[in-house]
Assembly symmetry: C2
């Protein structure tokens, strides 16, 4: 998916929010916005938004002096999700359709902003989301593809959501390779974050080699690209992975909440919808 | 009210929307955004947002080649509101509290985007809004102030909303001076727009002399400033007038919907709330 004009003010909003999150002064954030405004000319609309996001967050980091401004947010996210893990695990094991429930939990994981909610809020939030409408829901297609596959490539997204990914992977009981970002960007999961969620207990964790908040194939390692090419089924979590892989003809299933109008329109759903969408898989 | 950092991406969004409204190509809108991004450094956070908006919309106009890109939208807005006028007039006259109902209609007028709704939608929209929650509602204070006043200065805002202003002015039955913008900006009412709404039948129409989408006193004519100074009661419609006059100690009543977080926070209400707020009037 290419970058849309709507993404430009959105990058500004992200810079503003991150600046505030790390406690920059208004004066410093204004200088950051001025600087970012001057760099709009460097944005290539043909690139997917996560590719541009690297430039935006590198600039933000140069103002915050931090390479991982979301470190605390991510840590809290994992802790809150882990506190819910036993209860959700129990619900799945007692469900009539464990895989169906684990799938919904995994997509629910993409919905919640772990940075702000308490784990108490999280629980009621999850119940609310579980009843939410979905725009596309290719669950049967996904289940069939999984039944035929001998292993699964799983592209992670946010930290905290990782715990929900772990639940799905444990329920799938397949050999799974779990893919993280090469370096910290926004609240995306790195190897360290995946380990904190206990994903090493159930999957092999690898880095894609890409530092963007998505999967830009030509920025990934040859090893990852080889796995991507061979994978019988790929689970892709979140908007960033969708934005970078929506044009791929690999056997991908996109698990996400459509969080902005641009992605929702591209998917043919309404903003806020939960989505389980098969890519070009037949 | 000063300009907040949040207003900066919002100006970008406004440029994008207006560019699309007048049918600019994506390429031209991108150039507009690049240009605007380079001008962020000229924004003075001490100014109220409408003062900055003049720079933004002047830039937009230089790309669209139009001095009144909202002309069609405004015309449609007035027509749709005039189509509802007889019904609303009847409802007011049959109400147990005609002034109370006319006040709610006038604030409701600030809510509706006349550019997009059909007049059929408008009717149901109005009913919905009439039941909406309000953040501040100094109606009794307003009614008392009006009862003591021998004339009223009425600061208009959007075109179409003008018809709802006319209903309130007719119900008040006071001598009213109705104030419009000096030149077209966004969908704000100019003299021409006020005439189209029939406001000349019930009020004296004057321009403030200010071309911003608000009332920047030091950009207004001496005549307007004199009226402003002497007015026993001022009705100020919409966010733009609030943003430019919130610090004034004049006897102002602000009628508006809080349409963004920045204004809502400043007013101590929640975004989306309807507001009738007395200024520094005792």
């Amino acid at each position: 998916m290419r970058t849309f004009l709507d993404c430009i003010p959105c990058f500004m909003i992200q810079a503003l929010r991150t600046g505030r999150l790390v406690g920059l002064s208004d004066e410093k954030i204004l200088r950051l916005l001025i600087d970012l405004g001057g760099k709009i000319k460097n944005i290539k609309l043909d690139d997917p938004p996560p590719k541009t996001a690297v430039m935006v967050y590198d600039l933000i980091n140069s103002y915050t002096g931090k390479t991982d401004p979301f470190k605390t947010v991510k840590k809290q996210g994992t802790e809150k999700a882990l506190a819910l893990y036993p209860q959700l695990k129990k619900e799945i094991s007692e469900s009539e359709d464990p895989l169906g429930l684990a799938i919904r939990f995994a997509i629910t994981g993409n919905v919640i902003d772990f940075g702000i909610s308490s784990s108490y809020d999280l629980e009621s939030e999850i119940q609310k989301i579980m009843d939410q409408s979905f725009g596309r829901w290719d669950e049967e297609k996904f289940k069939k593809a999984v039944a035929r596959a001998d292993w699964i490539l799983y592209l992670g997204d946010n930290t905290g959501e990782t715990v929900f990914d772990r639940l799905l992977i444990e329920t799938l009981a397949h050999t799974v390779t779990y893919v993280v970002r090469e370096k910290p960007i926004i609240n995306d999961a790195t190897r360290e974050d995946a380990l904190a969620a206990g994903l090493d207990k159930t999957a092999t964790i690898i880095s894609s080699g890409c530092a963007a908040p998505g999967t830009v194939l030509d920025q990934c390692t040859p090893e990852f690209r080889e796995l991507f090419r061979k994978a019988p089924v790929i689970i892709s979590k979140g908007q960033g992975n969708y934005e970078t892989l929506s044009d791929s003809d690999a056997p991908i299933f996109f698990f996400l909440k459509a969080k902005c109008d641009v992605v929702a329109r591209h998917l043919g759903v309404i903003k806020g919808d939960l989505v389980l969408a098969s890519g070009h898989l037949n």
